[in-house]
């Protein structure tokens, strides 16, 4: 079992934080910011980001592309695992486009799902924030 966990962790590192990973910053409700990985404090906190999703429009039946950023993070890389408890606002900063050097934009974490304790990753569904006028 222990070996299996190690394999899963290794796989998650490759798939979420490896060559395709993008730098992510997590901001907890108390204002603390996590920018480095809890597994290796010399590395940036990385995650897999999907920017757009293809969904079927229920009215027309046609496929449409919706801007819907979803961030997947390795659970063991987090110092605190975000949740979407009502009243607690978590924020996350991700690159504007799929490039590590792109400027970052801030989103509220609207929903968090976990793939089960043994799989070891969390998926964040984001909501856009606009400046209060």
């Amino acid at each position: 079992m222990g070996e299996q966990r190690a394999i899963i962790e290794s796989d998650l590192y490759e798939t979420l934080e490896g060559d395709y990973g993008l730098p992510v910053e997590l901001i907890a409700p108390d204002g603390t910011k996590q920018t480095k990985s809890a597994n290796n404090p010399t590395e940036d906190l990385m995650g897999q980001i999907l920017y757009d999703s293809i969904i079927q429009d229920p009215n027309t039946g046609l496929d449409i592309v919706v801007h819907k950023p979803v961030v997947s993070l390795r659970r063991s890389s987090l110092t605190t695992v975000p949740d979407a408890t009502p009243g607690d606002n978590w924020a996350v900063r991700i690159p504007l486009e799929p490039s590590a050097s792109a400027p970052k934009v801030t989103f509220r974490i609207g929903r968090v799902t976990e793939g089960g304790d043994s799989i070891g990753f969390v998926r964040l569904y984001l909501e856009r924030i606009e400046q209060t006028s």
Binding site: I27, P29, D30, G31, T32, K33, S53, V66, H67, K68, P69, N89, W90, A91, R93, K104, V105, T106, F107, R108, G110, R111, Y125, L126, E127, R128, I129, E130, Q131, T132
Partner: protein
């Protein structure tokens, strides 16, 4: 040849579009140039469509106009994002207490979208039920019984990075419909009057003899002044 419910639908769209004042968009309405400050919130749209029609039968329906009890649905769609002090959240130099304050004061999209939908429904109700709009933009006395019967709000749903709230308002009214003839066939008028010399009774109409319609008025048929019968000329 257009039925009145179609004319009324266009009129409602124009009425709402003219009165929207940039507070919401009306789908189908051809927008005119507007001042920039009028466009304060363009993430709300209203779509007007004919949803249902009843044609009640009455004693006068046989030859007269047909009454049409029509129902229009006005679909309201509102989308919102969270609102907050984005400048602080985006600033890398922000301290933890500053970030905490910004996150605490964040107005989540679910709250904003609900308020926005309510405001939009409020505006539409005020426009449609305004006494000046009794005729829904048409000539006076054409539309009867206009009434906003119901407003329904659908459950919240997230679509992408926005929260979307939909719902509808039901508008009912009554108008007569005129039956003008078969679609696409121009009406042809046949003049069946037969004017005869010496016809003291009046216009004789079509003279028939042995199922043959006599349409000749050049003197082939004459009226016997004694018997008042039509006679074929010798």
């Amino acid at each position: 040849m257009t039925m009145n419910f179609r004319i009324l639908k266009v009129s409602i769209v124009n009425l709402l579009g003219a009165a929207a004042g940039g507070n919401f968009r009306v789908i189908g309405y051809q927008k005119q140039a507007q001042e920039a400050f009028h466009i304060k919130d363009t993430d709300r749209s209203v779509q007007v469509f004919y949803a249902e029609g009843d044609y009640p039968k009455s004693a006068g329906s046989l030859n007269g106009p047909v009454m049409h009890d029509m129902t229009f649905n006005l679909d309201i769609t509102v989308s919102k994002a969270c609102k907050g002090d984005l400048a602080t959240l985006e600033n890398p130099a922000s301290t933890a207490p500053q970030l905490q304050t910004a996150l605490t004061n964040l107005k989540i999209a679910e709250d904003g979208v609900d308020d926005s939908w309510d405001e939009c429904a409020d505006l539409i109700y005020q426009i449609l039920m305004d006494a000046r709009n009794l005729d829904l933009g048409l000539d006076p006395i054409k539309v009867a019984n206009r009434w906003v019967d119901r407003a329904i709000k659908d459950p919240l749903m997230t679509r992408g990075e926005l929260v979307v709230l939909t719902g509808s308002m039901k508008l009912t009214c009554r108008m007569p419909e005129e039956l003008l003839g078969e679609v696409g066939v121009p009406l042809m008028v046949f003049d069946t009057s037969l004017e005869l010399d010496g016809d003291v009774i009046g216009k004789a109409g079509v003279y028939q003899e042995h199922d043959i319609v006599v349409e000749d008025t050049t003197g082939a048929i004459v009226l016997d002044p004694v018997s008042q019968n039509f006679l074929r000329a010798a």
